[in-house]
């Protein structure tokens, strides 16, 4: 119940905070690339077109977790993980619709569709996780993923470019990469104000607490401690002064 109430309150704010221009630019570039690259009637380049569209979409979603007011909202009751999951949940439906439209536009073969979808999911997860891990990482994570993917395209085209559904290694690599990115995203989304376990040896703690308990305060401090707790010590000293009595 509490969670639902927080969702209702947070969703409009998160919608306003989303980088809508970047999302729109990424989706527009994805549609443009698919339209340009998959123009051939036999659909030979549909897979490549979808991969470039996936890169454009990754660039668009790179900074959805960036929050200019992160320091301010760090102390609000909903945790960082909750807010980030909510943000991703807001973006996911639009992303799914966009990707489905891109796949229908590219007319990719049905056999290649799951592999490409796995790849775009992994690319987006890696981009978001990298953007969440780095300080202001949204600007860096997208280009890093793009250049790394294009480099893998040049040096290991068998695994980056040509999805082969019969080859289990391709699926295993991209699924493993996606799982690792999801784990990394969960790790970096832990609440910064979480309770951190102490690294001191536990055997010394009872002794220290006992010493604190038995520590004897100096005499002047004891007198001050007996006075009212929130008063300034200087005021206490002034109150204790005895003024000379006027003779009657």
């Amino acid at each position: 119940m509490m969670c639902r109430r927080q969702c209702v309150l947070l969703v409009p704010s998160l919608l306003r905070a989303l980088p809508r221009v970047q999302l729109a630019v990424g989706a527009s570039c994805a549609f443009g690339l698919v339209w340009l690259l998959s123009a051939e009637p036999d659909g030979a380049r549909a897979v490549v077109a979808l991969q470039y569209a996936a890169l454009a979409l990754s660039l668009g979603v790179a900074s959805i977790l960036e929050d200019d007011a992160a320091d301010t909202v760090a102390a609000v009751p909903p945790s960082l993980l909750f807010r980030r999951v909510l943000t991703i949940a807001i973006v996911v439906p639009a992303f799914v619709v966009t990707w489905a439209a891109l796949m229908s536009l590219s007319a990719v073969a049905t056999s290649s569709a799951p592999a490409i979808t796995l790849q775009v999911g992994t690319l987006v997860l890696v981009t978001i996780a990298l953007g969440a891990a780095l300080t202001r990482g949204g600007a860096i994570s997208g280009p890093l993923v793009v250049i790394a993917f294009l480099g893998a395209d040049a040096f290991a085209p068998d695994w980056a470019l040509a999805p082969d559904l019969g080859d289990w290694r391709w699926d295993a690599i991209w699924a493993g990469l996606g799982a690792g990115a999801l784990l990394a995203l969960l790790v970096v989304s832990r609440d910064p104000a979480r309770r951190v376990p102490r690294l001191q040896a536990p055997s010394r703690e009872p002794q220290r607490e006992e010493n604190d308990r038995n520590r004897v305060a100096p005499r002047s401090s004891r007198r001050l401690l007996r006075s009212r707790p929130c008063r300034n010590p200087a005021t206490v000293r002034a109150d204790n002064l005895t003024m000379p009595q006027e003779p009657a």
């Binding site: 690259l37 380049r45 660039l59 600007a139 860096i140 997208g142 793009v146 250049i147």
Partner: protein
Amino acid sequence: MSSVSPAVAIAAHRPARERPRREVAALARIEGRRLLLHPVFLLGLALSMLFFRDEGNGATWEAFVDGFAYLPLACGTLVAANLGALRSRRDRTDELYESMPRPRSSRVAGQLLGLLWTLPIAGALMAAARIDNSFVVDNLGVLHAPSPGQLVQGPLMIITFGAIGILLARIAPSPIVGAVAVVALIAARLPGLIPAGSIGAWLVPIATDVFQYAPSTPCDPGTSSGCHRVATSAIAWHLSYFFGLTLLAAAAAMIPRRRPLGFAAVAALAVALAAATRLAAG
């Protein structure tokens, strides 16, 4: 007794009207260092260094002479320069910089001059590739003699990409634009999208295709060595286009805001440059 203060001549100091050499040089040092330490630039450098996987056939040297091996580094430079030019916008210090005595063009000039810091790295990569494949000339004889244009085009491509990145930050100040430009440039190289030899292929600032399809002649026609020298006419004109494009991008990036006529003039010059060099190259 009256005391009168002596007249003190106050000379108005107008630093904006002085030649900003020292400030620009200092900014170029800082921007160049930040550019070389940028993660995207370092990733591009690492990918360019992956071309050092020689299989004994001179492939490394060929990749660097053709310019293809410089492509990841150039893409990293474009993105890093773009993000560097957008730093003040990201940090919301634009208004603070406007209160400085120097104009905005000084900062842009510093960023543009900072691109020159990539030259030693590009030269070192070329030298390392030459040393790595030096034995190929003696054993197999397949290593052709590079023309000066082939030696220059890789480092020039890096600087051109960097200038384009800074110009993009001026035109469309969004961090996504540089990376989208990289995707578009790489997609433009896909076979069949832009026909080889067309004006579209000439406009793309990547020289690899021009170098690969340029005619070559044997170094010594009397012998049967595999040494070939690439014909330099088309390459020279394409390099001229590169160089002019870099200068025009730098000029457009330094034009003050609200000067659409200046932008229009630079765009017209760029179109004229592309057409003239394409026609001259035949």
